[in-house]
Structures are given as C-alpha cells and as structure tokens.
Symmetry: none
Subunit: 251 residues, 2 copies
C-alpha cells in the first residue's frame, strides 16, 4: 500500500498528538496528586500509569510508522510507499490494551472508594474479563483469514458484554451511594467509556466488511488516536475531577 503525502502527514501528526496528550496528562496528574485526599490517590496513580504506558507505546508506534513508510522524493513530497524490511506493527496496540484496559477499570472502581469487599468483588470480575477480551481479540487481529477473525471477534465480545453488564447493571447500586454532586459526572463517565470503547470493535470489523485501502487505514489510525485520547486522557481528567470534588466534600 502507498500513502499520499497528506495521508502520511495526517497519521504522523495524529500519532504525535496522542504522545503529547498522554504524556502531559500524566505530568499534570503527577503534579496535582498532592491536592487530592490520600484515599483517592490510588485512582489517580493508576491513571498516571495508564497514560504513561500509552505514551511509551505511542513512541513505539510513531517510530514504527516512520520506518514502515518512506518517500524518496526531495522534500518528502509525493507518495510514501512501504519500506523494505520494516512492517508497521499493530501489535503494540494489543500489548498496550492488555495492560491498560484492566487498569482503566481499576481507576474507575478506585475513585468510588467503596467498601473493601464490594471493591474486590467488582475487580475480581472486571480485570480478568478485560484481559481475556484483549487476549481473545489478538489471534483474530493478526489473522488474514476472515473466518478466524470473525470467530475470535465473537469470543472476545463475550467478556466485553460481561464488562458492560457489570458496569451498567451491577455497578448502578454503588453509584446511588455516591455523593450527589459527583453522581452525574460518574454517570456521564460510563457513557464516555461506552462510546470510546465502542470504536475498537468497530475498527476490528472493517476487514470483515471488506473496507480496506489506504483511506480506510488512515481513518482507522485517526479513529484509534482519538479513541485512545478520550478513553485514557479525557477519562483520567474526569476521574481527577471526581476525586477533587470528593476531596473537598470529605475535608
């Protein structure tokens, strides 16, 4: 596949945008940590780690992209074609998700500051389900066979549906016990999660729908970039907001 210069630039600039967004969300949270009551620091610490892991992987993805697509024309104008001996590694994304998706759920549960028992009951369900969802998606992602992709997609959707069930049904009772001035924010946070997480299975479906080519590929990279910023950085800032409000209330 070849990319036009503007397609190349679009992906290039979006990948760099994600690095800046994740890195400086982590920096912001790290500097702001002392302003949060100790009991909510666990949630913010996990958020810092998640944005840090994403920063690392986006540095890798950025370098992988720069190595995989090259132009020979003066001034880098004209088309970019695939380099010899260098593939663009989509695998970084699955490695990233394997670590960060369970942690995103830990963040959410931690900021609720529930009773120890309720908390571990939730985590014991959400964390393995999240890891299983990503692990089951990976064999489908790297397969060229649409049958294999479809099969693992369905298998991966089972833990995904279970996570949504826990978040939207089982968690609802705990949300009612949260202070009134954060209940709305937490409700919106769940919808932001649903919306941003929904991007990933849709991107996975594209090859099954025979949507391919350079435009679709560029669209997918841009979609992943925006979804990653929303699902990690924006999500972390909302969790920070909740922790700040609860810190004032408890004071």
């Amino acid at each position: 596949d070849t990319l036009s210069q503007s397609q190349f630039d679009t992906v290039y600039n979006f990948l760099s945008l994600v690095i800046a967004a994740q890195l400086f969300t982590a920096v912001f949270l790290l500097i702001s940590l002392p302003r949060i009551l100790p009991r909510y620091r666990q949630a913010i610490t996990v958020a810092i780690v998640v944005c840090g892991i994403a920063t690392y992987h986006y540095f890798r993805i950025f370098d992988s992209f720069k190595e995989a697509f090259v132009s020979e024309s003066v001034g880098g104008t004209g088309t970019y074609s695939q380099a010899e001996g260098a593939a663009f590694n989509e695998g970084y994304r699955y490695v990233d998700w394997l670590l960060t998706v369970p942690l995103l759920l830990v963040e959410l549960v931690a900021v609720l500051a529930l009773a120890r028992k309720v908390q571990s009951r939730l985590l014991v369900r959400l964390v393995p389900a999240a890891a299983l969802m990503i692990a089951l998606g990976y064999p489908g992602e790297i397969s060229d066979d649409n049958g294999v992709r479809g099969l693992f997609g369905i298998l991966s959707t089972i833990p995904f549906a279970y996570i949504l069930f826990v978040l939207f049904v089982q968690l609802s009772k705990s949300l009612e016990n949260q202070p009134a001035n954060v209940r709305g924010t937490l409700g919106n946070l769940r919808y932001l999660l649903l919306l941003s997480w929904g991007v990933y299975p849709i991107a996975y479906l594209l090859p099954l729908l025979d949507i391919a080519g350079a435009d679709a590929w560029v669209g997918k990279q841009v979609g992943y970039s925006i979804a990653d910023i929303v699902a990690k950085a924006v999500y972390a800032l909302i969790i920070f907001q909740v922790a700040r409000i609860k810190s004032f209330d408890d004071d």
Copy 2:
C-alpha cells in the same frame, strides 16, 4: 528551496532557544509551585503543562528541521538544500496549538480564582472557541490553493474574534473585582496576549500576499519562535507573578 548557511543557522539557533526557554520556564515553575497558595496552583500547573507540551513539540520541530535540510559540503558550510524523503513538518505547530491555546486561556481564568460558576461560564466559551479556531486554520495551512487558505482563514477568524470579545468585554467586570495591586498586571497581560497571538494570523497571511521564498520562510520561523516564547513562557511568568502577589495578600 535552499537556505544559505546563515539562514540555516538562524533558524537552527532560534529553535534551540525556544526549547531552552520553554523547558526551563517549566522547571522554574515546578520548583516554585510550593511557594504559591493551593488555590492558585491549578493555574501554575497548567502553565507548566503548556511549557512542557511546547518543549516536546520544539524538540520534534528541531529534529524535523535537521532532517529536512542538508548540506554536503565539508564542515557544513555552503547552502542547505531539501533532503530526500524528509519534509519539514509545520503540522507540529498546529498540533501544539490545538492543545496549548485552550490551556493558555484556562491558565488566565484559573489565576483569577473566580467563583466556580463564573469560571465555568467563561471556560465553556473560551476553550471550544480556541480549539475551533486552530482546527479551522489547519486545512487552510496545508492547502496549496490560496482560495482554500483564504476561506479557512476567514472561518478561523470568527472564533478568534469571539475569544477577544470575551476577554476584552465580558472579562472586564471580573477584572474590576481583582485586588488593586494585580489589576494593572492583568490588564497588561491581556495586551501581551493580543500582541503575541496576532503574529500567528499574520504569518498565515503571508502566502496570500505573495510573500514567499527563503527569506520570508526564515522570517516566519523566527517570528513563530519569538511569539511562542512570549505567548507561553513570558505569559506564564507574569501569571506566576500575579499568583505570588495574590498569595501574599491572602496570607
């Protein structure tokens, strides 16, 4: 395009100057943070993040410049011409502004320490307008067609004018309620903002006025560099000054 050695050196040294200025403004503010009352730390934290994001992008811009212009003469004397397969990426600037311009407005509003309601009413207007202004400028910047550049320039000027209206008309009442000994500084800060922000639309206009060539390009990079130092680092130091004075008063 080719650059003479002195043109190359000028851009090279200015880009490095910006890295040093932004990075060590961030370091200075980070070290000074504990000397500020907690209520003004949000403003200074955002200022640190803004200078940090600019540092990241200037490292990238610097590397992109070094890759895009090369000389083959011994000792690097003589002219520098455009390299094969490497473009100078102006896109970094727009990615930077997309993140930092809204945050510069957050900084300003945060240091005023207004009532929660007044603050969110201001931010809900300023932040989306700033993001929209940059997003609308980008398609014009990357287009070779002067018609497209003109059209998006006009569209982008609408949110720009709106921001100035909010800052110079709607914000004036809030400024009157600030302590007397910072009122003058805050007034000057608005003019410094107007002056430095004005550089960007002017640089955008140059191709429409048929001002092109190596000299104009070098001038634009130098102008951006100076404007970026004033609009972020100098601006942050003035905000810090305001926060220091208010911290003494409140003590």
